[in-house]
């Protein structure tokens, strides 16, 4: 288990950070959130197509970068630290991960992966953002024998910028994943708690869909689970990015803000809170790295790379990844929320204003806590995984 960052990962981080520093400052984001274009298409073109992040997880032979979950985690740290309004999670993580659980030898699957990877199209997975790994296959959408889909899916992330939807639906032969053109669905924007990842409700009324065949020996349920597990595990890295920004910004502010004739950051009452917060962020980073590493090991099928701890106890790669994701997701969520809450409080009055960006991070952190399984959901999953039954 490698919990550090490789040189390649450091380089990737630097490239993403450069773009964000240039095009995604807090002022940029604040200026966009109340417009009718809350997502930044120009920024996504640079990140997704030019830098190749849209196809980061797609194998090279399918037109992508052939990167791993470890690298996607680094990207999410940076995107979280900028609350960047781009559909990386929905398109490059959730939709791509679901498609990689399908039969990639199928021309339709491979073609869609290629279009997503090149940035020619942007996708998302049509599930509520609150969907958690381990849940039953959704029954909100039905497909008929002609592949026409009917039903509604609420609170879908990154749907507003999507060209293509990957829709889980119950068809005549059971659960299936369907490719649906976004234009074939009715999309209702939702007034969202998280202003930088606004949601939409989708209504499908006989929308034409194309069944995406599952991987050999797999199923639509397994492909969906694959995507949700990756989403939940990698979201922990986004939460680390959010938390790190809140910590850094608060430390910076407390070094310059003066009251009572001294820098307020010299008061122990505040220093101790920040030291505790630092420890939380450092711990969340270790947990998030472990999850990304375990997911990457599972994807590559390299069970040999699984931790020695796991080997000793006979834990398989799949189980190890599920444990690591449950640990990271349940731990990092409250850390990001706590970091944002502390940032707001320790900034005092300015932290409560609309003009200061801390509220964007608080809203992202709180929404992320609910996204892809609450901490309680992930802990409950752990009970079965580590033999601590109720």
């Amino acid at each position: 288990m490698n919990l550090l960052y490789s040189e390649v990962e450091d380089d990737l981080r630097a490239a993403v950070r450069d773009v964000l520093a240039d095009r995604c400052t807090p002022a940029d984001v604040l200026g966009r959130i109340e417009t009718d274009r809350p997502y930044d298409a120009g920024l996504w073109r640079v990140l997704g197509a030019d830098l190749g992040l849209a196809g980061l997880l797609v194998p090279e032979k399918l037109g992508g970068q052939g990167g791993t979950e470890r690298e996607a985690a680094v990207v999410l740290e940076e995107l979280g630290g900028a609350v960047a309004p781009v559909p990386f999670l929905g398109s490059a993580v959730l939709a791509v991960s679901a498609l990689l659980g399908c039969d990639t030898a199928d021309a339709g699957v491979a073609g869609l992966l290629g279009r997503l990877a090149s940035g020619e199209a942007t996708g998302t997975l049509a599930v509520p953002l609150s969907a958690a790994p381990g849940a039953a296959f959704p029954a909100a959408v039905r497909a008929d024998a002609a592949g026409r889909l009917t039903g509604t899916v609420s609170s879908v992330a990154d749907a507003r910028t999507a060209d293509v939807l990957v829709v889980p639906a119950l068809g005549p032969d059971g659960p299936g994943l369907y490719e649906v053109a976004a234009g074939a669905a009715r999309l209702t924007p939702v007034v969202s708690l998280d202003l930088t990842r606004p949601l939409a409700d989708l209504t499908l009324d006989g929308a034409p869909g194309r069944l995406l065949p599952p991987a050999a020996g797999g199923s639509a349920g397994a492909a969906l689970e694959r995507a949700l597990l990756r989403g939940a595990g990698l979201l922990a890295s986004e939460q680390v990015g959010v938390a790190q920004w809140c910590l850094d910004e608060t430390v910076r502010y407390l070094k310059e803000r003066r009251q009572f004739g001294r820098v307020v950051g010299s008061f122990q009452a505040l220093k101790h809170r920040l030291a505790d917060l630092w420890l939380e962020v450092v711990s969340a980073r270790a947990a998030a790295r472990a999850a990304a590493d375990a997911l990457a090991a599972e994807t590559s099928g390299a069970d040999a790379l699984v931790t020695e701890t796991a080997e000793a106890s006979g834990v398989t790669g799949a189980k190890e990844a599920r444990i690591a994701v449950a640990v990271a997701a349940s731990y990092a969520s409250p850390v990001a929320v706590h970091a944002a809450e502390e940032a707001l409080q320790l900034h005092g009055g300015i932290g409560m204003t609309w003009e200061h960006p801390v509220h964007l991070f608080l809203k992202r952190a709180k929404a992320d806590e609910i996204a892809l399984g609450t901490p309680g959901t992930h802990r409950a999953a752990l009970a079965g995984l580590v033999d601590l039954p109720a």
Binding site: K271, A275, S283, A286, A290, T309, L388
Partner: protein, 424 residues
């Protein structure tokens, strides 16, 4: 409890230059060539000294002389000057051959604190004299740092050392001294110049615990045991040859000791579900009648926290091995203390009626420090010391805030004043 260090002074880098070699090892180059050589040495040791028949001390001395005691130490001092990370493979190979170890829990202060300090600041003569019997466990070490009036403010210590020709005469009182009753030697800091500010008038010594004038009295703690002691020093004579570092430079030497102590307490490698959570999880599995939904939620939250703390320590070790020591080490002990306290408190509550009973209040003087031993009540009480020993959690938060986050220190009144003129 060993000592209560404090905040001033600078963080010291690790005691060993070979850490830089570890970067190459992590990249998979140098370690690949060293590892077979280490294995060859282990086999040669086992062939020459059969652990099944050779007396314990003799085997341990031979292991030290083969450079397999602590491989990152220099050759001739129990090591081979190779990366610390390679030690695990040596230990595993020896354990597989059922070779005895040096029972590190019994000599933790020597291994974790005295040895790295002697290696870094000791003369060649001191290194040759002290390190081998320290490592084999033939000579137990303790630490004479804290005093009744100098806990978190350790640099304010009053124990005096006055020069008398080639020796120093030491008078004072030390406290919270684990293993003083079994120790042959102590690392000691004492005031040698009261006329300069407190951090500058301290000198670091090795004190013979069998010397006349050293009196050790057990100090009973909340668990009922007397794990630590008070040590009274009355006219104790220490040869100048047993001084570690320069006269007046003892604070800097002590900082090195304390940094090692915190890593030793908080940075130990554990398997998943190792340490305090192991006990609580075992109780949960074996006693289904105790389970409630509310306790279940708390147990899972504690399990997650234990696993994350383990991963954080593992990440800090990987950073160290890769030659890029991260600041995580400073905070590990904070996490470790809070976790142990919360889990042990939970375990007593989980036990319900059984939690009302305590194993044994009899005052004993244990030979080793055991955080996870005995019964749940003992573990709960012993864990209370985790946030005090080796630097209180409050002092550690100051260290993180000032040295990691770069926040300014509180205004101080004692920094540029001669120690003798400080208000008392």
């Amino acid at each position: 409890m060993t000592t209560v260090p404090q905040g001033g002074g600078q963080a010291e880098p690790g005691p060993q230059s070979p850490e830089t070699k570890a970067g190459a090892m992590a990249a998979g180059t140098e370690g690949d060539t060293i590892a077979p050589e280490l294995r060859r040495r282990v086999r040669a040791l086992l062939a020459a000294y059969d652990p099944a028949t050779i007396p314990l001390r003799e085997f341990l001395r031979a292991r030290f002389d083969a450079g397999l005691a602590w491989v990152h130490f220099p050759e001739g001092l129990g090591g081979l000057g190779v990366p610390r990370a390679l030690q695990a493979a040596v230990d595993a190979e020896l354990a597989a051959a059922k070779a005895p170890d040096n029972d590190p829990r019994r000599i933790g202060i020597g291994l974790g604190m005295a040895a790295p300090t002697i290696l870094r600041f000791g003369t060649e003569e001191q290194q040759q004299r002290f390190l081998r019997p320290l490592w084999t466990g033939e000579e137990v070490w303790c630490q004479l740092f804290s005093e009744p009036g100098a806990g978190s403010d350790l640099a304010g210590l009053r124990t005096r050392a006055v020069r008398d020709g080639d020796t120093w005469v030491v008078d004072g009182q030390k406290v919270w001294t684990s293993s003083a009753h079994t120790a042959r030697w102590a690392i000691l800091i004492a005031r040698t110049d009261p006329d300069v500010p407190k951090h500058r008038g301290i000198t670091y010594f090795v004190c013979d615990m069998t010397a006349p004038g050293v009196e050790v009295r057990p100090l009973r703690q909340a668990t009922g045991e007397a794990e630590f002691n008070e040590v009274f020093l009355t006219g104790v004579r220490i040869p100048d040859a047993h001084r570690l570092g320069e006269v007046g430079d003892g604070w800097r030497v002590a900082q090195a000791t304390l940094m090692n102590e915190r890593v030793a307490i908080g940075g130990t490698a554990l398997p998943r579900e190792g340490g305090m959570i192991e006990k609580a999880a075992a109780t949960w599995r074996s006693r289904p009648e105790l389970r409630t939904p509310e306790l279940h939620g708390r147990l899972l939250a504690l399990w997650v926290e234990a696993e994350v703390t383990r991963l954080t320590a593992e990440r800090a070790r990987q950073q160290l091995a890769a030659g890029a020591p991260g600041p995580e080490g400073s905070g590990l002990k904070l996490a470790f203390a809070r976790l142990n306290q919360r889990i042990s408190g939970f375990e007593l509550e989980l036990l319900g009626e059984d939690g009302l009973r305590y194993g044994d209040w009899t005052m004993v003087r244990p030979e080793l420090v055991d955080f996870y031993g005995r019964d749940a009540g003992y573990r709960y009480l012993r864990a209370k010391g985790n946030s005090i020993e080796g630097g209180t959690s409050e002092i550690l938060r100051n260290i993180v805030a000032e040295r990691v986050l770069g926040l300014p220190a509180e205004p101080r009144t004692d920094k540029d004043v001669a120690w003798k003129d400080l208000p008392r």
